[in-house]
């Protein structure tokens, strides 16, 4: 096989893996949009907050240490214990559920029946608040996240492809784990949404708030549920991206990577987030590979949006989005 073709194949595989990472972020947006029609601007910050909390709990960091020290003159930083990764993840998931309850009680409850733009603005406010709150709670330094996920080249794949094709492919172990986690997550979410009572209630709320309320579905419970699930998905995304670059405040910017995925896959489809992520991942990597050297490189950020826009011309609701029919 010619070298260029092999490289293109390697780039495609890595694009698919990168797409899965984008899809993990996009999933959180989809869940909330599906259930409440809110575009949750704070989803990237939720991932950051979840990752910060996970590291903080795992490392036994004292929350609000800087504030406590400044006010009391003490010098506390750590409790002096380390918590196993699994337990820390479970505790963090609990914190995210608590956060969902607080968001519902303090923000969403007061905005029932408001226009979507009001809810969107509220999520912008939440994003800024949570970012600052995370900073005060856990500090702004870069934290190393180690929950035991493997990183680096997958030697087996490299040697198999080397023997078969004469060129060892690079696939990151972390990306493989992310793919497996994404498959499990999407399966679980699909099963939950299709077959559980709460899942059906969630879909009913998504279809029509008023109708769902009239048959006794609690909108408040559904909102807490969906924000909790989105919080958990944000935790998963935070773990994957945080393992890659350390947990730091730029983690909230991963939301930018999810937007073209949502535009392409549709805001209301869980499989759409995955397929959209894969198309964006492969598309941007192949474009960078073939066209990047000719036009100066660094094409990935903008090309993802161009690709999404091209799809929108033909399917404005996205590949898997629901067609919006407005009656005059």
């Amino acid at each position: 096989m010619p070298d260029q073709l092999l490289f293109a194949l390697e780039v495609t595989l890595n694009g698919l893996m990168a797409g899965v990472m984008y899809a993990l972020v996009a999933l959180g947006f989809v869940l909330i949009y599906k259930a409440s029609g809110i575009f949750n601007y704070a989803q990237g910050v939720l991932a950051l907050f979840a990752a910060l909390t996970l590291v903080g709990i795992q490392q036994g960091q004292v929350p609000f240490a800087h504030l406590i020290n400044a006010v009391t003159g003490m010098h506390v930083t750590e409790f002096g214990w380390k918590i196993p990764a699994i337990l820390a993840i479970l505790l963090t998931a609990g914190v995210m559920v608590g956060l969902a309850i607080i968001i519902e009680k303090l923000v969403l409850k007061h905005l029932v029946n408001q226009a979507p733009i009001i809810l969107f603005m509220a999520t912008i406010g939440m994003a800024y608040f949570l970012e600052g709150f995370g900073d005060v709670m856990w500090g702004a330094d870069i934290k190393t996240l180690d929950v035991g996920l493997p990183q680096g080249i997958n030697e087996t794949l490299e040697s198999v492809t080397d023997k078969a094709l004469g060129y060892g492919f690079f696939i990151d172990n972390l990306d493989i784990v992310a793919t497996l986690v994404a498959i499990a997550l999407v399966t679980a979410l699909t099963l939950f949404s299709q077959y559980s009572k709460q899942g059906r209630a969630l879909r009913a709320v998504a279809d029509d708030h008023q109708a769902a309320l009239s048959v006794g579905i609690s909108l408040r419970f559904i909102w807490i549920l969906v924000w909790s699930i989105a919080g958990f998905v944000a935790l998963v995304a935070g773990i994957m991206w945080g393992s890659k670059s350390g947990v730091q405040f730029s983690l909230s910017l991963i939301a930018l990577k999810a937007l073209p995925v949502l535009m392409l896959g549709g805001f209301t489809s869980i499989p759409g987030a995955i397929v959209g992520g894969l198309i964006i991942g492969v598309g941007e990597k192949l474009f960078e590979f073939f066209a990047g050297p000719l036009i100066g490189g660094a094409t990935e950020n903008w090309f993802a949006y161009v690709l999404a826009l091209v799809f929108l011309v033909f399917r404005p609701q996205g590949l898997f989005g629901e067609k919006i029919i407005e009656r005059v």
Binding site: M21, A140, Q151, F170, G297
Partner: protein, 429 residues
């Protein structure tokens, strides 16, 4: 009750925006302790503030005048940086050091019009080294082009005396800052006969798979990085992932802090960076900082950044500004110096090794002899290698001098273009 509340509110507002007393020396700190670049902004701001606190607590300020360092949060955002400048310039600000090339570019015309000193060590507009054109801007001791030239010199020595026939890749932040070394490296590639491959990374740089797959495929002998923030950590992790030899991976000084290497763990061992000052706590000034600042509870931050690379850089910037103020006091025979007098202090700064030793910083940096025309300084720096086991940067070279002939030529060319665009008549003739 209402009156009490009003009085309290008035007092709170007054405390927040209180202008320094007229005799105070004001050096605003345009810092960033929030946002995506906070992890880098915090140690720098802490070092900067702590050094001035030390001067106030130990020496009673500079020349008997206390130094006031009002801090303004820019979040590394250019618009906010300009707002901070506008908000503080009326308080008799003597010098600005915004730690952002984007903010620097916006402030150059403003400080020129308002007559304030802009001090940008190791960042900002490189050709500001030419004092004939940039009267109010100083960037000694080294600039981006010096950095590129020094890295190439270091790599040449590493390659056994010649880079001819070698491949060098530049992984850079796709911004004005990241693009700065390209021209210099292109010139050096022609001169030294190496092949230069350019690999831009878009902001913020969390996803760099394409660039590192290219590096894995093309196998450059050396990789140079001009990155900032998360781009650095991801690049180093990706280099570890593809098993790129770390000792052949060199970052500019903004890609060489503890923050950049620690997330990659042991894999980052051997990663090399360049710096125009030394780092670590083996300097007598740290004993004073401990006694007068940290133990006295007057430290700027949590105290966990002391001695790190970026903390040292903050100390360096504060030390240079304070020495320029001291020089201005000496030249003009007054302790309450004005911004214009401080500019003279910057221009006549003569920082010797003996003076550095007096300051408790022996061997910390290279001596500087500034002149009206030379705002760029010696253009030398040292290489440091990350030791993952000890968690420290080990010196990997002595001071290396940049290719002055090439850099001077590039500086003259760029500053002449700026002067022509802005109708600036050359000074210092």
């Amino acid at each position: 009750m209402k009156k009490t509340f009003t009085a309290l509110a008035a007092a709170a507002i007054a405390a927040t925006v209180a202008a320094p007393a007229m005799a105070d020396l004001t050096v605003p700190n345009l810092s960033y302790r929030t946002g995506p670049y906070a992890a880098n902004g915090i140690p720098y701001a802490d070092g900067f503030n702590d050094y001035f606190t030390l001067l106030n607590e130990r020496d009673g300020g500079i020349g008997g005048e206390k130094v006031v360092v009002p801090e303004c949060e820019t979040a590394y955002n250019t618009e906010k940086g300009v707002e901070c400048y506008e908000a503080t310039k009326g308080d008799g600000a003597l010098a600005y050091n915004p730690l952002s090339t984007g903010i620097t570019y916006q402030l150059i015309p403003k400080v020129t019009a308002d007559q304030h000193v802009l001090y940008t060590p190791g960042y900002g507009r490189t050709s500001a080294a030419n004092g004939k054109v940039f009267e109010w801007v100083f960037n000694y001791p080294a600039n981006y082009w010096d950095g590129a030239s020094i890295i190439v010199k270091y790599l040449t020595e590493k390659a056994g005396g010649s880079l001819s026939g070698k491949k060098v890749a530049l992984v850079y932040h796709n911004s004005a800052y990241g693009k700065e070394p390209i021209r210099t490296l292109e010139e050096l590639a022609k001169k030294d006969g190496f092949e230069l491959e350019l690999l831009p990374v878009d902001h913020p740089g969390q996803e760099q798979k394409s660039q590192w797959l290219q590096i894995r495929r093309n196998k450059p002998d050396y990789v140079i990085m001009y990155g900032w923030g998360v781009m650095n950590q991801v690049a180093i992790q990706e280099a570890v992932n593809i098993k790129y030899p770390m000792e052949n991976f060199v970052g500019i000084w903004w890609s060489g802090s503890e923050n950049d290497v620690k997330p990659a763990g042991d894999g980052a061992n051997g990663y090399t960076t360049i710096s125009f000052h030394s780092t670590g706590m083996d300097f007598p000034v740290y004993a004073d900082l401990k006694q007068y600042v940290h133990d006295a509870g007057k430290g700027a931050g949590a105290g966990d950044q002391v001695g790190t690379m970026l903390y040292s850089r903050g100390v360096y910037a504060a030390m240079i500004i304070s020495e320029a103020i001291r020089k201005a006091q000496e030249v003009h025979g007054t302790s309450a110096v004005t911004p214009a007098q401080v500019r003279d202090g910057f221009e006549q700064l003569d920082l010797t090794e003996a003076r550095l030793t007096e300051l408790g910083l022996p061997g910390f940096a290279q001596p500087i002899t500034a002149t009206c025309a030379d705002h760029g300084g010696p253009g030398s720096a040292k290489m440091f290698q990350w030791n993952a086991a000890s968690g420290q940067w080990d010196a990997a070279s002595d001071w290396i001098q940049s290719d002055a002939e090439l850099i001077d030529m590039l500086v003259a060319e760029d500053s002449a273009a700026f002067a022509a665009e802005n109708n600036i008549a050359e000074r210092c003739n």
